[in-house]
Subunit: 481 residues, 2 copies
């Protein structure tokens, strides 16, 4: 084993009182790695030792380590030792040049209440997908050649109209294509005028939050649930009420004073169940009587492997109280940044007003290329092809997990939950898995309440059968210890 | 002259109390046009008559007419008669199908204070550029073939990294290219880590407003000035203090309690003067002592025709108090939706946090294509080529206006101001010009205070010399009346 680096060997620079402690430590370690003072393969000091030596909380140290980890500077994990990465890709060395100049003076700028409520941006995770990355399609199978052909064809007949711009809610032909698709495939009742083209689900949530919530308003949220939504709601100053789940999905909240309820009925994030029709109708009735709106996040139900599709909440609603959101970032590729929101007719002008004042409209050429990709039939073919591949990957996951983990039998989507055998704790399981090059996320990270059982979130779409099997073999080793 | 349509011929439908009056009238007239009840060439009722007959304010009628006008349904102008357009392009008939379903019930959704402060979205103006359209480059001269080649080349070598995503502030190589360009050409002192890639100037303003302003905070603003900025500031609940201009540019505000000051020093919007160095230093001193930040909107100074470039406020600032913003939407094409903000080092993490929580990052392929376009030298060549063309167009404008209008001798940008001869009023001048197919915007629309003289805003970049001369001949006819 490599000698553990002593914190004093690192010559940590003096700490600037204006820089958050985790950031100072991150910068210091990163500089040490990039300047070669910490060599590839060197073991970093333990978090406890470092906390004591640098007089910082252990949470601060863990935050700094996690950021270095996410950016690829270090490997291993907090539990089992952290090492400087053996291979520092060129990207990192390049990225080093893209850091802002050091702040020359103290923090003198007063920021808004909104700014103070924002959590720090997580480091962008540029690592190649591994087992069991969640929220990611199979990028290696994306038909880039076909996409390039569609884009090139559209660009060659670029009209002045396409250079000029479009309506705030988006390119009308794309909105028509989306409305047609949602009507035919997802049981959504809408026309093109109700479609707002946005950047992603977080963007849809942010728009909805700005337009519907004031500080102190209450939002109901599934628990466990999508913490990205919680971050948006809390950033605008809303109070989040976490409603528990049962086997039918989110329970109807007891509170009656909520302005908005966030729910993932098609494929609950992260547990994976499909909400029953009975529960859907109860939720709609609750919304009708309490005056709340529902945000239906249909983030990955393009892929259904078994079971009968249940009509969307939006399609069941006759009172115009459901905002339905979906995304192309998870079925095509994440860097596309095109998603949509189906807005109740009564609110369409408000959404147009917000988009017009802030960003005019989403980039138009991307919208036009995506529109061609859909209307020329490529999108439907891509979905059919990937559905088969993902169904196979899901069955490989289920099969290889047999006897090891109790994997939830999901009907749809790109990921599922797995329960650990008694005696295992998800955080240390995840740390040990990470040390073996396997990514699993403890379900507790998506939860506010203590969960009845320890479990992890597993993606099965991003990597192939071979990598799924490798991942499961590594998990078996962790479980065998 | 066509017979004036009587309001009662139109069978205006009963008014729904939940729909704003201008919207009801717009819908009714539009339906009448699309259904053929108002035939091409038919004259609409006068605004005064219609106001009396429908029991609405004249402002309401004008709003509805302006929206129909902007969308191409009607021609002419409020002053000189409004006619149904002779040619209704297919686009309009198609757009008619993209309107949301009628609201079936009353407005039952309570919206946020932010939503109530937003002005309604203006209709998207899809008309072909005419003399003297402002804020628009020469789209017919944009090198679309070259852009297509650059895009196709980048798409053909699409890597998994480009499909995956990037940092919240944007694609690092593009941010490096922007920082290099700004350092070399605009006198901005920054490194790539300070660049945030956003959708446009309004988006930059919105981000800055959310992160720096709370409701009730004061913002100083040039008057006359860019009303798009005022709309953003007012939407977040800020109080706008309008500071007057003199020949040196914006005067230093008397107030000491502002959090932010918005200014266009390179080419004042809309009057066109370049702020003197002395005034720049005074503004920076004011910012330093009052604790305000400066938002420097450098929206179109890529094109400088004469005079010596003055260093940017950002470059003169040593205290990290300037947010510098610029855009590619005006030098390349408006539907691109890529602009940038240079953030003081102290605030970089706040901007990254806001982008991460709301939209992850700007669409990545667009950023990569633009990056190639810049780093392969095409951007610089495009600027040099267009600078020469726009300089010619400006001189055609100056020459053809001689003896007619007093045109400000601008040193930079895509537009200028022109002062009317005594006795002319800008609104009726603009109406009469519009009736002759010429677009001029009264400067009073960009102003809160009464202006000392009546003037209009003229763009000279979007159309060629022939169209500029045609436009000026038409203005001469209006002035000769």
């Amino acid at each position: 084993m490599a000698r553990q680096t002593d914190a004093f060997d690192l010559m940590l620079p003096p700490r600037d009182a204006d820089v958050p402690a985790y950031r100072w430590l991150y910068d210091a370690l990163r500089a040490a790695i990039l300047e070669g003072r910490l060599r590839p393969g060197a073991r970093l000091p333990g978090t406890r030792d470092l906390a004591r030596q640098a007089d910082l909380s252990r949470g601060t140290i863990v935050s700094a380590f996690e950021q270095l980890h996410a950016e690829g500077y270090v490997e291993g994990s907090v539990g089992s030792g952290t090492y400087v990465s053996k291979v520092l890709p060129d990207d990192l060395l390049k990225a080093a040049r893209v850091k802002p100049r050091t702040v020359e003076r103290g923090g003198t700028v007063r920021v808004s209440a909104y700014a103070t409520r924002l959590p720090p941006a997580p480091a962008f995770d540029a690592r190649k997908p591994r087992a069991f990355r969640t929220d990611l399609p199979a990028l290696d199978l994306f038909p880039t050649t076909l996409w390039t052909q569609v884009a090139a064809k559209r660009l060659r007949r670029l009209s002045m109209n396409l250079l000029l711009g479009t309506e705030p809610l988006g390119y009308p032909p794309l909105r028509t294509a989306i409305a047609d698709y949602l009507t035919a495939s997802r049981g959504v009742k809408c026309d093109a005028g109700q479609i707002a083209v946005v950047s992603g689900t977080p963007d849809a949530l942010d728009l909805v939050s700005r337009l519907l919530l004031d500080r102190g308003d209450r939002v109901c949220m599934e628990d466990p649930g999508y913490q990205g939504a919680v971050r948006v709601f809390e950033s605008v100053g809303a109070k989040v009420h976490a409603a528990p789940l049962d086997e039918q999905g989110m329970k109807v909240p007891r509170v009656r004073d909520a302005r908005l309820l966030y729910v993932t009925p098609a494929h609950q994030f992260p547990l994976g169940m499909t909400m029953t029709l009975a529960r859907r109708l109860e939720l709609l009735e609750w919304a009708r009587t309490s005056g709340a709106l529902l945000f239906e996040d249909d983030y990955d139900s393009e892929y259904r492997y078994s079971g009968r599709p249940v009509p969307s909440l939006q399609g069941l609603d006759s009172a115009g109280r459901v905002l339905f959101s979906g995304t192309f970032n998870k079925v095509l590729f994440p860097s596309l940044r095109i998603a949509y929101l189906v807005v109740p007719p009564e609110l369409v002008d408000r959404f147009a007003a917000a988009l017009a004042v802030t960003r005019r409209h989403a980039p138009l050429l991307d919208q036009a290329v995506l529109c061609d990709f859909i209307t020329e039939g490529h999108f439907g073919r891509h979905l059919r092809r990937m559905r088969q591949i993902y169904a196979e990957r899901l069955s490989v996951l289920m099969e290889s997990a047999r006897g090891l983990l109790e994997v939830s039998d999901v009907e749809a989507g790109l990921q599922t939950a797995a329960w650990l055998p008694a005696g295992f704790e998800a955080e240390s399981f995840a740390s040990a898995a990470a040390a073996r090059g396997v990514e699993v996320t403890p379900l507790s990270r998506h939860s506010r309440r203590a969960l009845p059982r320890e479990g992890v979130h597993l993606g099965f779409a991003a990597v192939d059968a071979r990598e799924i099997r490798r991942g499961m073999r590594e998990l078996a080793m962790v479980l065998a210890r």
